[in-house]
Amino acid sequence: MSCSRRDFLKDSIGAAFVSALPLSAFTFLTTDEAKAAVAEATVRWGYLVDTTKCTGCGMCVKACKNENEIPYDAPVTRTWVERYVVTKDGKSHADSPLGGRDGFTTDKIRDEEINPDDITKAYFVPKLCNQCDNPACVQVCPVGATYQTHDGVVLVDREWCIGCGYCIMACPYGVRFFHPDHKVADKCNFCYHRITKGMMPACVESCAFGARRLANLKDPDDPVTKIIMTERVAVLKDEYGTKPHVFYIGLDANVR
């Protein structure tokens, strides 16, 4: 192989530039910036629903609607409670009138009377955004209006959303809806304005029975994280690969 003096110099200068380039990627953070970066990495919000404790009072739905300014009488809600009644013939009867906003005060399900003697099991299942690790809703957004924050919560940018509705279609859990006032997609965000101030989400605070709890999954000493780590919990629609972060205790096979 021949190599002229000119070529050698040219190549060496080029190589020096290329090897120097990645160095510019390492910037020195100020103390505050470094602290902020570390703090963000120590939080990953998760949620635990204990269906064995839910009584179907619907206070969580009421609190959520008030707290997050979701039109109270519109048929949309960020969280809802489903009732399941399974009878001896193996049939599952389910309803969620107004998302359970006014609770479940009658034993009729969709105007159907069910004989109490035929009931084998009955339970309530609260639902909300699963704040997935692989959120399908974020992937499909054509304008970058919905995204995942450092602490795992999926937010919607109301200024930037064009209201195309792709994300509403994409969510396998059906938690997204079109906000009637703002004309954008809307969803549960674990009350981001509350959890970032050290408060609990409105639904968690209003639950008298401890059926709904918030967890910081990156803190092994968090009592709720301990339950998720050590007890038998399930997630909804695991087969979609979205890696949901709302965990359920006592999840029945009839729950869809």
């Binding site: 064995t52 404790k53 839910c54 009584t55 179907g56 009072c57 619907g58 206070m59 009421k62 609190a63 008030n66 707290e67 997050n68 009644v85 006014d102 609770g103 479940f104 005060t105 009658t106 034993d107 109490p116 009931i119 084998t120 099991k121 009955a122 339970y123 309530f124 692989n134 959120p135 974020v138 992937q139 970058g144 209006a145 919905t146 995204y147 995942q148 924050t149 450092h150 937010l155 940018d157 109301r158 200024e159 930037w160 965000n189 981001y192 304005h193 509350r194 970032t196 101030k197 408060m199 409105a202 605070e205 209003s206 008298a208 029975f209 401890g210 059926a211």
Partner: protein, 157 residues
């Protein structure tokens, strides 16, 4: 090349150029990938702060204590202690600065949320609560005319 090809071509190039220039002004400076994934972290950074600034309406039992000490303390000793004040009284928001009196809900339907008998087996959490059959128990009366909601063990005179 012929003019009928070139003219539309220049026009198309001009339109694309205009869009690229307009984009420089219309897209906010903080729009970009804030995180390690283009798929999930592509967004306007200041929106995170906008959500953090959303007003809080439910302030919790502690915020009631300062002025309503008697009721809060009585409630704390009662079987209703796990029920938040704001579940029945409504969100306090900036009370008493903006709303002097919170609307008081005395309807039966509020109590029936927990205390309606549904006839479910013991596996249901509802069956653990004391409950009534709505159509058979003092139909026309408000629950609070007999039961004190702050401590349901007490009867109202």
């Amino acid at each position: 090349m012929k003019r009928h090809v070139l003219h539309p071509l220049w026009f198309a190039i001009a339109v694309v150029g205009l869009i690229l220039i307009a984009r420089q002004f219309l897209v906010p400076d903080d729009f970009g990938v804030h995180g390690d994934s283009f798929t999930y972290n592509y967004h306007r950074l200041s929106n995170v702060q906008e959500w953090k600034d959303f007003p809080v309406k439910y302030r919790g039992n502690e915020s009631c204590l300062e002025c309503h000490e008697d009721n809060v303390k009585k409630h704390r000793r009662s079987p209703h202690k796990r029920v938040q004040c704001e579940n029945c009284h409504g969100p306090s928001g900036n009370h008493p600065d903006d709303v002097e009196y919170l609307p008081l809900n005395k309807e039966r339907s509020l109590c029936l949320r927990c205390h309606a008998e549904l006839g479910y087996p013991e596996s249901s959490a509802r069956s653990d609560l004391p409950s009534i059959v709505d159509r058979r128990h003092k139909r026309k009366r408000e629950c609070v005319s007999c039961h004190n909601p702050h401590d349901p063990r007490e009867e109202v005179e």
